[in-house]
Subunit: 261 residues, 2 copies
Amino acid sequence: MAKPTKLPADFKLLLEKGDKIYQTGISVDCVVFGFHENALKILLIKVNYINKWALPGGFIQKDENVDAAAYQILKERTGINNIFLQEFSVFGSPHRSDASVHQNRYQEYGVKIPKDNWLMQRFITVGYFALIDFTEVELMQESYLEGCNWIDINKVGPLMMDHENIVSKALETLRNQIAYTPIGKNLLPKKFTMPELQKLYETILNKKLDRRNFQRKMIGFGILNRLSETRKGGAHKAPFLYTFNDKKYQKALKEGLYGSW
Amino acid sequence: MAKPTKLPADFKLLLEKGDKIYQTGISVDCVVFGFHENALKILLIKVNYINKWALPGGFIQKDENVDAAAYQILKERTGINNIFLQEFSVFGSPHRSDASVHQNRYQEYGVKIPKDNWLMQRFITVGYFALIDFTEVELMQESYLEGCNWIDINKVGPLMMDHENIVSKALETLRNQIAYTPIGKNLLPKKFTMPELQKLYETILNKKLDRRNFQRKMIGFGILNRLSETRKGGAHKAPFLYTFNDKKYQKALKEGLYGSW
DNA sequence: TTTATATTGTGTCATAGTAACACAATGGAA
DNA sequence: TTCCATTGTGTTACTATGACACAATATAAA
């Protein structure tokens, strides 16, 4: 792929008019979780000119809801509309953002960003995490500068700026939520088996769970429908397929799974 | 109290140089919880010119950590340095902020804020909640425009802008946290009785708890020291005083109280 | 066709945690 | 001295959890 030498129009617009279009000094970054081949993965973007991976992120338009901005970013990257998205933390260290990232990006085109440009200031970012069904995603490789890819959560290398920290916090939040919120509907395909669901839990929690106790607990939550179908293919007894009971799942989402206290 | 007619210097500075000092378009609001006379209360500020109460809030300096900004705001209001503070949510609707609040404030001095002034734009706010020991607070009544007061959480009237929403979310977060995080150290005085601790829990959870089961559970957490002293004063058996075991409390803070999953 | 293998479906038992409940002890008021 | 409100403590039934065993079955190998 040949590297263009002329500054693309959208890059020029961002640089020159960005501060008229977007909220300045604030951004959104998304940690997108997907589950595939028994591994928890996150969506990362390759930033070529610094040879590092980064979280998909972007800015907030002046009249745009912050949540909407996050949705928009993910829609552009994954093509999915109905994404489970949740804000989990704000990253507000004055030194977290690194203006040189923008400098390097524009330097590729021989453009030097003026020091007083809006992109050069300190940025506070709002972290969102998303849970999406891996099978429904078609990654958009729209930009010639950047690639988009699923990376195993255990194989995430050095990331841009403080993005490793953002990923850690997202994962921690996900782990906490799993204890009192139903998980799985957004990460698994419509039909799935109990072992698949268990693997998801084991992956997120990073520990082995007892097969029998897990099943009992899950069934006990009353949010699953067992189908009469089974998933054949393995050289062993075929496991039943399950779907989530949407109504009860929604109820559990609101009320939580443990009524303790 | 006579109303000054001349624009105070700090108001003038905020208006004219605020965008050089602070991050624009982003603010911090704090929901400060305290416990007094068996009631959960929050700290509110009376905004005279709109005759409503509001959360203590403020802006973030250009080189200031967002957390630090929240600490600073609370220090100014309560005089307390070591405050338990936690960011809990971002409020990012494009219509949540109301420029007329600022307009009205300055109108008191006959000053009309220009439409393109930084204060007139849409603001995203970061919500923090704080837990503080009521007995250590001395409220600062520094401003001639605003009063600061503790309001019973059940008697909070209409608040400025979306602040009611922010309070609800903070309370919800507190209720969720209580289930897996030790609470009380920051809200109660050093020495307290079991009935007092129970009242705190009952107030936050808004439900009655069984006295005997509550005590067993609390003792079971292993984060309390029972003193040999008792609190006399009531026409009944004097309850023992307790303190938190700092070391174990800190450990529980990190690891949570239930290891489930 | 038969046998082997991996993995699933289901059940039991001991233990820990929780909810519901009762009675003796005591500081101060009557 | 008696009474009352409230505290300290213990018991019992029930539910949830962790540890564990055996029968059933879809494919692969013999």
